[in-house]
């Protein structure tokens, strides 16, 4: 027969100070782990939610990112007439030749300079990104001001660029390329990779960076998912073009590798802290066992088996760990949504993302705590179950 759980809960309540301190110790480790997992989750979301399944990104063959792309602008008319491309508001094929450059901007809080992606696009590029994607939502939404106008030295910035960098409010001028650019609007990209970009007119950008006569990438909008797949293959297989077509969402999904440094650091830190916590929990549980020697012996005399006592003490340790996990999650919740940035290893520029405590992060945190509780409780519980009844009763 098993010992009821209420016995363990009452015992934890009895030794309040010890319980709270041990739980806090576990909570601290859980907090650190959640923080790191939330960073990775946020970063993954920035990439996974980026782009539309209907957009085809065209790059030079062999190139892995828009930054290292670059092909002759003369190829663009050939791309535009490929079958399966949707029509824009003027009845023309919905396609945009674009320039992608990386510039250095100082952070607002003075913690150094950061590479930021500037994207020059055609009017169709804006139109394409405001069309609803596969999930029914557009890639970007204008929240303030207006879009840039063709032929003007104007830019629109994402919400998080406005928050993180100086001179990025509507009406401000930014200095890059060969002169100043007026900020005329702010867009919301819903936490996707576009959230880290500044957009302007492609011809203005190309002349500023001496890149006329070429594009670093082109975007084509397919009419439907089947056409998108066909269009992608058509671009890649055309021997005259020497270009590669990619579904936009696949392109971003590959960039999640940027989270690797955080992941490695996170794993190292979490493991070291977890080992420390396991020993601390072990200490508490040994104390609990030592304190209750006579009680355990009495339980044995009444007829509870050794396995029942072993399970009971492991359970107590698990409850302690759960308490710690809950505490840790509550402690971390205020940080949910906090914005930060890291270096995108594919495009070489900063990607901005928000800390996200998702259900899977919370679940992983609970599992992590339970593992600590289990290993912390096992040895003391074993010790309790193996106690000699007579000696223990004599105390």
């Amino acid at each position: 027969m098993a010992i009821p759980i209420s016995y363990n809960i009452r015992n934890l309540k009895l030794r309040k100070g010890l319980t709270v301190m041990t739980a806090l110790g576990i909570a601290l480790t859980v907090t650190t782990a959640i923080f790191l997992m939330a960073l990775v989750a946020g970063l993954n979301r920035a990439f996974v939610s980026s782009g539309s399944k209907l957009n085809i990104l065209v790059l030079r063959k062999g190139s892995e990112s828009e930054l290292t792309g670059g092909f002759d602008a003369a190829l663009f008319p050939t791309l535009k007439v490929l079958p399966g491309i949707a029509k824009d508001s003027h009845g023309e094929p919905l396609a945009s030749g674009e320039w992608n450059v990386v510039i250095v901007l100082p952070r607002k809080d003075g913690t150094g300079e950061v590479n930021v992606t500037v994207r020059g696009m055609m009017p169709d590029g804006l139109e394409m990104r405001q069309l609803p994607g596969a999930d029914g939502k557009p890639s970007v939404k204008l929240t303030d001001g207006r879009w840039f106008e063709t032929g003007q030295r104007e830019v629109v910035v994402s919400k998080s660029i406005r928050e993180r960098f100086a001179h990025a409010n509507i009406g401000d001028t930014m200095e890059f390329g060969k002169g100043s650019w007026k900020v005329v609007g702010v867009f919301d990209a819903g936490g996707s990779a576009y959230e880290s970009e500044i957009w302007g007119d492609v011809n203005q950008m190309a002349s500023d960076f001496d890149r006329q006569g070429g594009f670093s990438s082109a975007y084509l909008r397919a009419t439907d998912p089947i056409a998108a797949e066909a269009l992608k293959n058509r671009v890649s297989d055309d021997q005259r073009l020497k270009l590669d077509g990619l579904i936009e969402t696949d392109y971003y999904a590959k960039q999640t590798s940027s989270g690797t440094p955080i992941k490695i650091i996170g794993i190292v830190v979490a493991i070291i802290m977890a080992i420390g916590s396991i020993f601390a929990a072990m200490n508490t549980m040994y104390a609990a066992v030592a304190y209750r020697g006579r009680e355990i012996a009495t339980l044995r005399v009444i007829g509870f088996s050794r396995p029942a006592i072993l399970t009971s003490f492991v359970l107590e340790s698990l409850i302690l760990a759960l308490l710690g996990a809950a505490l840790g999650i509550v402690l971390m919740l205020p940080f949910n949504g906090m914005q930060t940035g890291t270096s995108n290893q594919v495009t070489f520029s900063e990607v901005v993302f928000a800390l996200r405590i998702t259900w899977s992060v919370a679940f992983a945190a609970v599992c992590f705590a339970l593992v600590m509780g289990f290993f912390g409780g096992l040895a003391p519980a074993w010790h309790a179950a193996r106690q000699n009844i007579l000696n223990a009763l004599r105390g």
Binding site: M21, F35, T68, V101, T111, V114, M273, S277, A280, S343
Partner: protein
């Protein structure tokens, strides 16, 4: 029995408890030491004298833009500059895209490169062989060992940024401390393969005659190109590398956050142990006080025990940290991250000091309670 040995005996009376506490604290201290080491290597450590004389000159706006070839001679004319070489990040792919096959691949000018990178030690005959073979490559010894490369072996690199594949022959192998995981080849070879790249360079690396002239030379170089089509940004090699660290995010806040969590964890563990220890010795404390031990004495006995435990745990942690951190440094360099970490005396001392302070803080409350205990109740205590 002296007071000192009384404290030592009491500290380790419950061996299991002391050991568990020590191990727990030692893991926290290991992490703390690691964080201090990373901080030191990023923000405190001075670079080797050769590296402190090196300047990196790049496009002001972005590393992604090339600089014209004629900049090289203009930079050379700046007083104090003794050597200048073009550097270009080839990137490329070796075997496949996996992170373990990643290493730096750079195009440069072999005739002058080793004058700038004077900390790379290469046998003179190998240098000559490299300079004479346009498709030759210079590689780090650890990199060569990793792939089993020998002089004369071929290395095939696929182009990513540059639309060309390179077939290189290893002509020279260099030694450097710490190792660097990089491959260098002729920029001329790349220019021949990629016509549009001709007459350009990713950035320039220059050697200045004295570390004192670095600031003046970099200012003069930037001023010289202020009205050129492409403005430059010159900075020391260390500052250049820190730029990459800064791009990873708010590293300082990150490290400080982890340190904070770790210190708090040590405090909890230590306080917990002291509370348990005081509780199990209630009757003893009452006896001590009956014998005439003052409140201060009792307080200091328990606080000393807390310090003893924390410092013993700390010592264990630092001792474990030395091999762990040296192992990590090798692993990082293997991944191409130039993070040179060593546990030095000041780092170890700082970690121990933190442990001792945390011991005092965490032991004080339980110790204070013990010292204020009512003798009669203490004697009556059953526990």
């Amino acid at each position: 029995m002296t007071l000192g040995s009384f404290i030592v005996r009491n500290t380790f009376r419950n061996k299991r408890r002391s050991l568990l506490t020590m191990i727990s604290i030692s893991f926290s201290l290991l992490l703390l030491t690691l964080m201090i080491c990373i901080w030191r290597s990023f923000y405190v450590d001075q670079v080797a004298p050769e590296a402190s004389r090196r300047l990196i000159i790049r496009d002001r706006v972005s590393l992604a833009f090339f600089l014209p070839a004629y900049y090289r001679d203009k930079i050379r004319s700046v007083p104090g500059v003794t050597a200048v070489v073009p550097m270009t990040w080839f990137e490329g792919r070796y075997i496949d895209n996996r992170a373990e096959h990643f290493f730096a691949r750079l195009a440069t000018d072999p005739d002058e490169y080793l004058k700038v990178a004077s900390d790379k030690i290469t046998p003179p005959d190998q240098v000559k062989a490299w300079q004479q073979d346009r498709a030759g490559a210079l590689v780090d010894v650890t990199l060569a060992d990793k792939y089993g490369w020998k002089l004369g072996d071929h290395v095939h690199l696929q182009g990513t940024i540059f639309p060309t594949d390179l077939d290189l022959t290893i002509r020279a192998i260099y030694h450097r401390d710490p190792p660097q995981n990089a491959l260098y080849f002729h920029t001329k070879y790349l220019e021949e393969a990629v016509p549009w790249f001709k007459g350009q360079a990713g950035w320039y690396a220059a050697q200045v005659d004295s570390p004192d002239h670095v600031a003046a030379a970099s200012k003069q170089i930037d001023d010289m190109f202020r009205n050129s089509p492409l403005q430059t940004k010159s900075e020391s090699e260390k500052a250049f590398q820190l730029g990459f660290v800064a791009s990873l995010g708010n590293v300082k806040a990150f490290i400080l956050g982890i340190c904070g969590a770790v210190m708090f964890a040590i405090m909890l563990v230590s306080a917990n142990t002291m509370a348990m220890s005081v509780r199990s010795r209630t009757r003893e404390v009452a006896v001590l006080k009956t014998l005439g031990f003052t409140q201060q004495r009792v307080l200091s006995i328990f606080v000393s025990e807390a310090i003893g435990l924390a410092v013993a745990g700390g010592l264990l942690g630092v001792l474990v940290a030395i091999p762990v951190i040296s192992g990590m440094t090798h692993r990082f360099i293997g991944l191409g991250i130039p993070l040179d970490m060593k546990v030095k005396w000041p780092t170890a001392a700082l970690a121990m000091l933190v442990a001792a302070i945390l011991g005092v803080v965490s032991g004080y409350l339980p110790a204070y309670r013990a010292s204020r205990m009512n003798i009669v109740e203490g004697l009556r205590h059953i526990g």
